[in-house]
């Protein structure tokens, strides 16, 4: 079997799964088996494709050609394969977690939930494997629409309000700015294909390119760069598996992935390095990193704190993309994987604490480590990985990003990264510290852990954080492939 033969299956499997979920909705056990099996199958397919893939035999698939000369095509490249790998690995893990969580929490409309989840994964696959900016944009919008019912899942006033913020910011930026940039690019160059080295003629004016870059980066609302970050904290009302999807599996990763793709394949790193606008955007990313960390420190609601932490971490990746050098892009690409594993662990823990102990605030967690030791241990691992300390995966990506800022000679940004790491320690490590060492307000009775499927999922992702430290080389090599 070749990569070419796998490609149609990779893009259709999640959508077929959604249909299967809708059909089997009446039998929850069957429905969830289908979701889980499809997730595992999806990962195997993507993993196979990654092994078969080589630059000489890049597969490609034209989905449609809505405008003459402009096809909607899929064409995997290393960065996209990495994103697809991460998303397809975390899909079954999140499903596993969701089975425990959604049942433990007695949620309604579970069929809609699993179907929308599968469509979201399909959209993420489309984004990851898109061969041109139009295809990426199409799946980007599909992802927004498919995740909307997940964000508003509860159907309460608060959830619907969050859904409104979510839809308006994400669709507003993408239609108002990103689509504008895409059409403009098409009008200037007549192509939207991802081309190594960029699509613009060398003599294109710097001001024009700078404007376009601003439109692209700010228009990618999913990257949650300030001031377009409000949707992410608003979406914390969603069930925890959805937060995992938003923060780790697909949505925000799709955002920073888009920015990396634009940087490498629409502008080209050499062009980017010469643009003043890139420096401005890097500064904006630096500002986002610091401000979001500072806001996170003031948040007592655990999910809100994690949401601002995500905003800050996304800033790292945007920063890496805007540096216009190899270390920055590779570091940013790797951080997609590293942050995904770390953050999904943290959200799984937050959800487990909600289901098992009915607590949502950091200040309520005193002594919870004795009641839920495994959960707290997983939280510690995720937190340390996100801070970027060995022996966890986050170390490598942060290392490369710092190196990127040094290569670009932007000392101030180096300082920002280091200060932010310190802030990360303060607001993330506070949780396990309280859990293990503070005395609980009221005496609690023995151990009461989260449901088994959820614990299992947490164990997998926490182990992942550890393994990514020791076996980071394949990922590193894969991401390097984009620069060849």
């Amino acid at each position: 079997m070749s990569a070419q033969a796998l490609l149609p299956w990779i893009i259709t499997l999640p959508f077929l799964t959604a249909i299967a979920v809708l059909l089997t909705g009446r039998w929850p056990n069957l429905r969830e088996t289908v979701s889980l099996a499809a997730g595992v199958g999806q990962f195997i397919l993507v993993a196979l494709m990654t092994t078969y893939w080589s630059p000489e035999t890049t597969p490609s698939l034209v989905l449609a050609e809505p405008i003459p000369g402009m096809a909607l095509s899929l064409s995997p490249e290393p960065l996209g394969l990495l994103f697809a790998l991460v998303a397809s690995f975390l899909w079954p893990v999140t499903t596993l977690y969701a089975i425990g969580y959604m049942r433990g929490h007695g949620e309604e409309n579970q069929t809609r939930f699993y179907a929308a989840f599968a469509i979201s994964i399909g959209a993420a696959m489309g984004i990851a494997l898109a061969g041109d900016m139009l295809a990426l944009f199409v799946f980007y919008e599909l992802l927004t629409l498919a995740t909307y019912p997940l964000v508003t899942h509860a159907g309460t006033d608060e959830a619907r309000k969050a859904g409104r913020v979510y839809l308006v910011i994400l669709m507003g930026t993408s239609v108002g700015l990103l689509l504008f940039a895409v059409i403009w690019t098409w009008q200037l160059t007549g192509t939207l294909s991802f081309t190594p080295g960029g699509v613009f003629e060398p003599d294109t004016g710097g001001l024009l390119l700078g404007t376009l870059l601003m439109l692209y980066v700010l228009g990618t609302g999913k990257a949650a760069l300030m001031p377009f970050h409000r949707w992410l904290p608003a979406a914390m009302v969603a069930p925890t598996p959805v937060s995992a999807l938003l923060h780790a599996v697909a949505v925000v990763k799709a955002g920073v992935f888009t920015i990396l793709k634009v940087a490498v394949y629409i502008f080209g790193l050499d062009t980017l390095a010469g643009l003043a606008a890139a420096d401005w955007l890097a500064a904006l990313a630096g500002l986002t990193i610091l401000l979001a960390s500072l806001i996170a420190m003031t948040r007592d609601n655990l999910k809100a704190r994690l949401a601002y932490s995500t905003i800050s971490q996304l800033g790292y990746i945007v920063l890496g993309a805007m540096l216009g050098n190899a270390a920055g892009v590779v570091g940013g690409g790797m951080h997609i994987a590293m942050h995904a594993f770390g953050k999904i662990t943290l959200f799984f823990c937050a959800g487990a604490i909600l289901v098992a102990a009915h607590k949502t605030r950091v200040s309520e967690l005193d002594g919870l480590g004795h009641q839920m030791p495994l959960t707290m241990l997983a939280f510690t691992i995720g937190a340390v990985s996100i801070v970027g300390l060995p022996p966890f995966g986050g170390t490598w990506s942060k290392w490369l990003l710092v190196q990127g800022t040094l290569d670009a000679g932007l000392w101030l940004l180096t300082a920002v990264l280091l200060v932010s790491s310190l802030l990360n320690i303060i607001y993330l490590m506070a949780v396990p510290l309280r859990g293990f060492f503070a005395t609980p307000a009221a005496q609690t009775s023995g151990m009461r852990e989260a449901p088994l499927p959820s614990l299992l999922a947490m164990g997998i992702t926490a182990t992942g954080c550890l393994l990514l430290f020791f076996y980071a080389e394949p990922i590193y090599r894969l991401v390097w492939g984009i620069l060849l």
Partner: protein, 494 residues
């Protein structure tokens, strides 16, 4: 002479003759069957006609064998055949849908007359697209307008009568203006045939009479078009008319008015005169942009969903007018393209509202609470066509927006491009309210949970909803013809 030569006439004569038959038979079921049959046959004629026009060239048909400029000429070029196809296709869909919806919404004794009026609206609109004679165009316009006043007044809501009266007043002013405009042109040139007019007008175009005639014509058509700020009759008319009427008018009437505008300002007066010597291009860009912005904003605050979509139609007309105002091949073809796509989305949306009205009796926003669960197919169709209205990629609406923005950027008018995209975001806001109510709001206590609409309503609805998706991915038919029609129009007739 075989049947194929009479295609232009067939498309309009069938509904025109079927209308009195409906009244004479006087039975609801038979009237429906006649209406459906004649519109399907018209659709077949229109499709054959378009095929002929694409392959060969403009078809000219002399009514009664009298040669123009004295006799009435039916003249079908690519644009005409294309709009005719839209009108016939939408009419056929609406007729197929009508039977059960009409039984529930229109008084039983009036049903045969209702179908007769519906056929007259259809015949009038179809006639406008095929005629080559300016006065004849006015006559067809009046046939369709008068019939539509009657149709709107048949709505169940008593406000339908005042809405119909309001439309009657505004529509008559528009028609009078058009007639005065045509009269001025006749005065100066002595001809009513459009081809003839186009040849003779340049010689006298520098006179005040011709300019006044031009002004009367454009304002008159602007009224029929619901061009902002001449749109005030439209929201009430659409909101209180029976569902079937709203669907037919929303999908076809404004489209045909856009056609009439294109025909007069570009074909008869010539683009150089209308969009160059006269400042109509600036005016159209300005009014189109304002229409997009203001009407979309007003739509966000409507509680009656039909009114909301009516305001959305005013905004959508803004897109088409904006495209025409650009006065370029790209702009005009974007407008022609949107004409097609907008018919698809609005047709589907109004048919879906008809299905909701069929089950719920009303279409206020709060009536939609919980419909995502109780009427899943209807709501899914609303979501699909709503996405198309917003312009989400993968739908027909995206293709329209794409070409329009491209045409705008071609002239470096990037603030306008932003405005078009802002319009999309506003569409997202008003469609979002509807979707939110349907899927994430629980119905009020003590309300009857409705069942899904019957299949005879769902089928035509889903044909249109699917078309929204199909034309979002495969655009050879509509984009190809729109571009050819636009260049045919601008580069003079072949």
């Amino acid at each position: 002479m075989n049947l194929g030569d009479h295609l232009p006439l067939l498309a309009i004569i069938l509904p025109l003759l079927a209308a009195p038959v409906c009244v004479l038979i006087g039975r609801a079921g038979a009237a429906w069957l006649i209406a459906l049959t004649s519109s399907v046959l018209s659709l077949a004629a229109a499709a054959a006609l378009l095929q002929g026009v694409v392959q060969e060239r403009t078809v000219s048909y002399q009514l009664g064998g009298w040669a123009p400029p004295w006799g009435i000429e039916l003249r079908v070029d690519l644009l005409g055949a294309y709009v005719l196809l839209i009108v016939c296709a939408m009419a056929a869909m609406v007729m197929a849908y009508a039977r059960r919806s009409v039984i529930r919404e229109v008084e039983a004794a009036l049903i045969p007359a209702f179908y007769a009026a519906l056929l007259l609206v259809f015949a009038g609109l179809a006639g406008i697209t095929v005629t080559g004679d300016a006065f004849n165009l006015f006559v067809f316009l009046e046939i369709s307008s008068l019939a539509s006043y009657a149709l709107i007044s048949m709505g169940r809501d008593r406000r339908a009568v005042s809405a119909a009266f309001q439309y009657l007043v505004m529509g008559s002013i528009g028609a009078t203006f058009i007639l005065i405009g045509i009269g001025f042109l006749y005065l100066m040139t002595g001809t009513l045939n459009m081809q003839d007019l186009a040849q003779r007008l340049p010689a006298v175009s520098d006179t005040r009479t011709v300019r006044a005639g031009f002004a009367f014509l454009t304002v008159g058509i602007g009224l029929k078009l619901a061009l902002f700020p001449l749109h005030l009759w439209l929201p009430n008319a659409y909101a209180y008319a029976p569902s079937v009427v709203s669907a037919l008018l929303a999908a076809t009437a404004t489209k045909v008015a856009v056609y009439a505008l294109l025909r007069f300002i570009i074909d008869v007066f010539g683009a150089d005169f209308s969009l160059g010597d006269m400042p109509l291009n600036l005016l159209l860009i300005l009014l189109g942009s304002l229409g997009i912005l203001v009407a979309s904003l007003v739509a966000v605050y409507q509680d009656n969903v039909k009114r909301m979509l009516a305001y959305s139609s005013v905004a959508q007309v803004g897109y088409m007018v904006l495209g025409i105002g650009l006065a370029s091949a790209a702009g005009v073809s974007a407008a022609i393209l949107h004409l097609f796509n907008h018919a698809l989305m609005k047709g589907a949306l109004f048919l879906a509202l008809g299905a909701v009205a069929y089950q719920m009796g009303r279409v206020r926003l709060k009536d939609f609470a919980g419909l995502g669960r109780s009427m899943p197919w209807t709501m899914a169709a609303i979501v699909v066509s709503g996405l198309s209205l917003i312009g989400v990629p993968g739908t027909a609406g995206f293709i329209s927006k794409w070409y329009l923005v491209l045409a705008i950027l071609e002239q470096d008018l990037w603030p306008l491009a932003m405005l078009v995209l802002v319009g999309s975001i506003l569409a997202l806001l008003y469609m979002g309210r509807l979707v939110e109510a349907a899927y994430f709001q629980h119905p009020e206590k003590n309300t009857v949970v409705p069942r899904e609409a019957p299949l005879s309503l769902l089928l035509p609805l889903w044909v249109l909803a699917t078309a929204n998706l199909y034309f979002g991915l495969f655009t050879d038919l509509n984009v190809g013809i729109a571009q050819q029609a636009s260049s045919q129009l601008l580069e003079g007739r072949p």
